[in-house]
């Protein structure tokens, strides 16, 4: 059951968020989590022995669920947007504090 693996992948990402202290690694963890989630979304639309939902002539009927595919498209793009902002933030953090390690960041939040 590959759906198990997709959920597991999501939790690998969450494990990364829990254990990593490097900002870039956290962004990667976020991406892994989103990847797992996206795979899970697609998998909810899978139907055994069904075809891709594109109408080709003389070959109608018995398609997989197209809605999760449409949704995952949106989810991926949103993930892209978030990652872009996250990377830019990471760059600004590096520029400001000279490090990507969370433990070495000083001056925010500790008053």
């Amino acid at each position: 059951m590959s759906q198990y693996l997709y959920i597991a992948l999501m939790f690998v990402g969450i494990y990364g968020l829990l254990s990593q202290k490097n900002i870039l690694k956290m962004i990667i963890s976020l991406n892994i989590m989103e990847l797992g989630l996206n795979l899970f979304i697609i998998s909810t639309g899978y139907i055994k022995e069904a075809k891709a939902p594109i109408i080709l002539f003389g070959n109608e009927g018995n398609y997989v669920d197209p809605l999760p595919q449409a949704i995952v498209l949106t989810a991926i793009v949103i993930g892209l947007g978030v990652t872009a902002v996250a990377l830019m933030l990471a760059r600004n953090i590096y520029k400001t504090y000279g490090t990507y390690e969370i433990d070495e960041i000083r001056g925010e939040n500790d008053d």
């Binding site: 999501m10 900002i23 956290m26 947007g81 933030l89 969370i102 939040n109």
Partner: protein, 475 residues
Amino acid sequence: MINPVLLIAIPLLAAFISVFIQKLSWVLLFGVSIFTAISGFFLQKGMFMIGGWKPPFGINLMIDDYSFIIIIVINLLFFLTLLSGMWELKKNKTILMVILAGINGLVMTGDLFNLFVFLEIITISGYILAASSDKYYSVFKYLVLGTLGSSLYLFGIMVLYGTLGTLNMADISQQFPNVSGSVKIISLTFVFAGLGVEAKLLPFNAWVKGIYGNTTPLTGPLFSTVFATGAIAVFGRIFGQILVPDSTLIFAFIALGLITFIFAETSAMASKKLRELLTFSSIGQAGLIITMFMIGGFYAALIQLINNAFAKTILFSYATKAYKSNGDDTINNMSGLFRKNVMMGFGFTVATLSLIGLPLFFGFYAKINMLQSAFALNMWIPALIILGSIIEGIYYIRLLVKLWNPGEEGQESSELAQSQFVIKNGFSLSLIAVLIGIIFVVSGIIPDFLTENIAKAADSLSDAATYLSTVLGGI
């Protein structure tokens, strides 16, 4: 009557146009904001299909009395925020227009996935605006938690899709009671956690301190009123009407709301900086309002939501302005600051007293309604609400006394000990403060003129049957 989709389309159109006509972007921004603020009152009610596809197949916007009142409130708040943060707009004008569209869509949409999209629009815009404080690590934290939260939410609704084969809110709310317990617990906890991040419930809200505590005159009122109101309103819609939790899990949710309220109020009491104090107060209020939604006191929850939103507009605007003008917002250094700007002081005081729930102000009406609906459930919830209110009252009164009366301890209060602080660019804020202050006082004495529509909104939230028939039955 105005088609509600215009409240999303026109701000977005303006946002896209503003990219290549940057000179006029502030005209567009204020024009759009005024348009939405006014047209909120003339909004057509009912169900609106996008693209002409009937629900549950297409996406629909739902304007019942509940979203109607929230739309009015949010658009007014947005306009007030613009006035307060007039000098901070800079390059953020386009993003602000997108936020306006996003928050309107968030409240109006009748589709769970579409809600996710709008949620992402406003959170990403939120990250960007928050970054204007130069506290990049705090923003990063917000980003990680926000992304995690929306992923959890997405997981929850996809589990629901995998079970029910639909994403439409009305359709789901119809079928949800018959879903098996194991799917219910998964989807409810994940959606709760996901929305909890934005609604600032306690274990999920670690980002709030860094973001709210470092706000500017623009982002302060924007986050604490517009975003918070939108997020909590969505929370109320989802858990009050669509995914109504059953007896055991709802207890956990209520407990979380109350814990948020009381814990955050104690934290606020321990805060020495004005913005931090207001931050924790916001969290506490969010916990309180969510508790009210959870126990079914929709009317009380809505009143308090509106009360909190308008009060926080003044409080955050003032606090952020004070910080902006002086580079410091330690309460002890601000003693007697209100003596320099009495109008703002008046608005601030009235807003605060209303927030605590003292009589003569609108908040009192909210408080008695909250107690009334809490007592309908059991005796402990009102006791805890009262405990939190006492703590809240103490630190706010401490603040007010400090800000009104300059003077050393043990000496007669006098102008000599007044703070060196000044408030720059305070005219628009004075205006807002006096206006909201007067509204608070008048509606505190005669609440009826505000509450009629709120009562209808609360009814429409508890009346799921009408919602269903409007969405699924009406074409």
